[in-house]
């Protein structure tokens, strides 16, 4: 059954690692919905969080091929509902801030006027979508989204660890 799954990959913080991992997606023709990379508290180690819509068999094949990469230490797979998801969205608006304050308040977004009108939202990606949708009534000049990053919930279910 196809569903959204999140992969958490601990890997060496070395050039080429992300390339090798994303090559696996290309090889199997998986479409990555989102990928984020960042350092962790462990020196020399980075964590890659990938959101992907894939069936069980595809997920298994992906995890195997990724685990085979020598610079990859661990691959954990979790269904979306077992994770806490967050995404950062930055928006630059055209014109004045009139009318924007109320929308931002509704979504817990931060409105800044500093030589331009900026909106910053951090939260559930679906809320970001909704926020952008409402802002579309006004003029959006530019927009950047980080893609989701996530953590497995303390009581998350169906967590698969390809650690060996």
């Amino acid at each position: 059954m196809s569903s959204k799954r999140i992969f958490f990959i601990r890997a060496a913080d070395r050039p080429g690692v992300l390339f090798r991992i994303t090559s696996v997606f290309r090889r199997r023709n998986f479409n990555i919905e989102s990928v984020t990379v960042g350092n962790t508290n462990v020196p020399g180690e980075s964590k890659i969080v990938i959101l992907i819509d894939v069936d069980e068999e595809g997920a298994d094949a992906f995890a195997r091929l990724v685990k085979r990469i020598i610079d990859v230490y661990e691959v954990v797979e979790a269904p979306q509902e077992s994770c806490t998801l967050k995404e950062l969205t930055l928006i630059r608006m055209e014109g004045s801030e009139a009318g924007l304050e109320e929308i931002c308040k509704k979504y817990g977004a931060k409105l800044t006027v500093n030589g331009g009108v900026y909106i910053e939202h951090c939260g559930d990606p679906q809320n970001s979508d909704a926020l952008i949708n409402e802002l579309s009534k006004y003029k959006i000049k530019d927009i950047s989204r980080t893609g989701i990053t996530a953590l497995v919930k303390e009581n998350g279910k169906n967590i698969l660890r390809f650690g060996y």
Partner: protein, 565 residues
């Protein structure tokens, strides 16, 4: 007195450090072709102890290194320049990757300031190689070279073996620094030896003892683990037949009374039947590839599978009913043997072993198809070669004939491109194998199509004094393609007819090798005997009827029970 300008023994160029590091690894030979971006390296080879064997095309160089590795078990080394050198070398590296063969490929790269500028002979070698190497390293300072080379050999030769690329920019070769060759490679997250889980081994032993009709399937991993004698021990306790994959040929002597030969698309009739009728498959260093299992659902229907493999990512990869025992194959086997031995051995007269004998007596060595000449040639080759002599194969019908009729008696004596199926592999691989095992005869079983892909290696073989024998099963066609066109594509022959050109005996002579054309099997026997007694590279051209088909044959998508004979 200042010492900063004093040149110590450990102060040297990156190029010299490459040679020194290779010598430290015990490398005695490199197969390659020099180019602009490897000139500094080659300049250092002039004074070093390592023999360089000059190929005529980089693809041949990488196959030679691969053949060397497969025949000896040691890491094979090949080298090419940047750009086209690296892309030519790639096919052989990918071939090694698919068959888990340990080679180290050293490529030159344009100097760092030119990287990414579309410089002359520049390609992103690391980017191109990534999907077909176990690891790729690009040292960016001379100082990184000793560790890079050490790491390359370590990764290539440990765990599930495979090729490693070291891509060295020209200025990293020419630049000098203090070099430290003493560091130990430590790679986080890279485990080389998995201790098999005893509870898994016990579970496997239980399955084995419950089985009524067990069959052993040995793969290339059994050869790499040197597990042959343990496999035989297990088989004799269980009185279970031993089948193999294409890569597993030679893991146990194929003349053993329990050996039934390879299964798969071109497996023997009795092996394919027996594995279909079995209720337990004990896979030993076999990855259950599509060519081996054919239709997987049918393959594992009504049976259990045990899979012993060193690579944890192989566990349950292709089969659902698999109990995977991950770890060094020999250690896993030892554990399982211990459990099995403590229980009752099988009766020597079980219905299963009677069935094995019945099928084997009927079909061992049987040639399906009346006109087939190739099996006779292969049997003649086997008859004249010693146990330790080596055959390599090209890819296509000849490979399938060799799989069926050449009985490998020792590990590392049957060398073939199983995973990638690379035409042109056999001849250069034979040269590499001959370098590794100079005391053995090495024979390439070739088709005329495959041979033409790397026949440039004739020059290497002659000029470097590495005599091998090439037997060309010459049907003037791309034989396997023609067979499929006849059998699967309604006899519509397209682009598979090569014609009667060139004359291979003349081609051989043009290179300074011996070239012989024979008529039929008997004539071949004499020519082959003579070739074996001469210390000269010999090409024997054997005419084969173009309409010859290899049977048994399981078309893709079908199951092993649906053999065409």
């Amino acid at each position: 007195m200042h010492t900063s300008n004093m040149q110590t023994d450990s102060y040297m160029s990156g190029a010299r450090a490459i040679v020194r590091a290779l010598e430290n690894e015990g490398v005695d030979v490199i197969f390659g072709i020099p180019g602009g971006a490897t000139l500094p390296l080659y300049d250092e080879l002039k004074d070093g102890k390592i023999r360089h064997i000059l190929a005529r095309h980089e693809q041949s160089a990488s196959h030679m290194a691969d053949g060397y590795a497969r025949a000896s078990g040691r890491v094979g080394v090949c080298s090419a320049t940047s750009g086209p050198g690296a892309t030519n070398l790639l096919t052989g590296v990918a071939t090694a990757y698919m068959d888990s063969s340990p080679i180290v490929a050293i490529t030159g790269q344009v100097a760092k300031p030119f990287i990414g500028k579309d410089a002359f002979q520049e390609i992103d070698t690391v980017g191109v190689y990534m999907p077909v190497v176990k690891y790729a390293i690009q040292p960016l300072t001379p100082k990184e070279i000793p560790e890079s080379i050490k790491m390359a050999f370590f990764i290539s030769s440990t765990g599930r073996q495979g090729p490693v690329l070291v891509d060295v920019p020209k200025d990293v070769q020419t630049g000098s620094d203090e070099m430290d060759f003493s560091s130990n490679v430590k790679l986080k997250g890279y485990e080389t030896s998995f201790k098999p889980d005893p509870s898994r081994a016990r579970e496997a032993a239980k399955l084995i003892l419950q089985a009524q009709r067990p069959i052993i399937l040995v793969g290339g991993g059994a050869i790499k683990a040197n597990a042959g004698s343990m496999v035989v021990e297990l088989a004799e306790i269980l009185m279970a037949p031993i089948a193999s994959t294409l890569m597993g040929k030679g893991a146990v002597p194929e003349t053993h009374f329990l050996s039934v030969g390879p299964i798969g698309m071109h497996g023997t009739y009795h092996a394919n039947r027996l594995i279909t009728e079995s209720d337990l498959v004990i896979g030993i260093g076999a990855r259950f590839s599509d060519r081996t299992t054919m239709d997987t659902g049918e393959f594992e229907r009504e049976k259990m599978i045990i899979g012993l493999d060193i690579d944890p990512t192989e566990a349950k990869k292709n089969l659902k009913n698999e109990l995977a025992v991950t770890g060094d194959v020999k250690e896993s086997l030892a554990m399982i043997l211990q459990f099995v031995k403590s229980m009752m051995p099988y009766s020597e007269n079980s219905p299963w072993i009677r069935r094995v004998k019945e099928l084997k007596d009927q079909f061992d060595g049987k040639v399906f198809g009346e006109k087939a000449v190739s099996p006779l040639i292969i049997k003649e080759v086997r008859g004249q070669l010693a146990d330790h002599d080596i055959v390599t194969t090209e890819v296509g019908q000849t490979q399938a004939w060799a799989e069926l009729f050449y009985k490998a008696l020792k590990p590392r004596t049957f060398i073939t491109s199983g995973g990638l199926g690379t035409m042109g592999f056999g001849f250069p691989a034979a040269i590499g194998a001959k370098v590794a095992k100079f005391g053995s005869n090495v024979v390439d079983l070739a088709g005329d199509g495959s041979f033409q892909m790397t026949s440039n290696s004739l020059a290497t073989s002659v000029k470097e004094g590495i005599p091998v024998i090439v037997i060309i099963f010459n049907n003037s066609t791309l034989g396997m393609i023609a067979q499929w066109q006849r059998m699967v594509y309604g006899n519509r022959i397209v682009a598979s007819w090569l014609g009667e050109s060139p004359d291979f005996s003349y081609l051989a002579k043009a290179y300074g090798a011996e070239g012989v054309k024979v008529n039929g099997a008997e004539d071949f026997g004499r020519a082959f005997k003579e070739a074996l007694s001469n210390e000269i590279t010999t090409v024997i051209d054997v005419p084969i009827p173009p309409e010859e088909n290899v049977f048994p044959f399981v078309p893709s998508g079908k199951s092993l029970r649906e053999m065409i004979v």
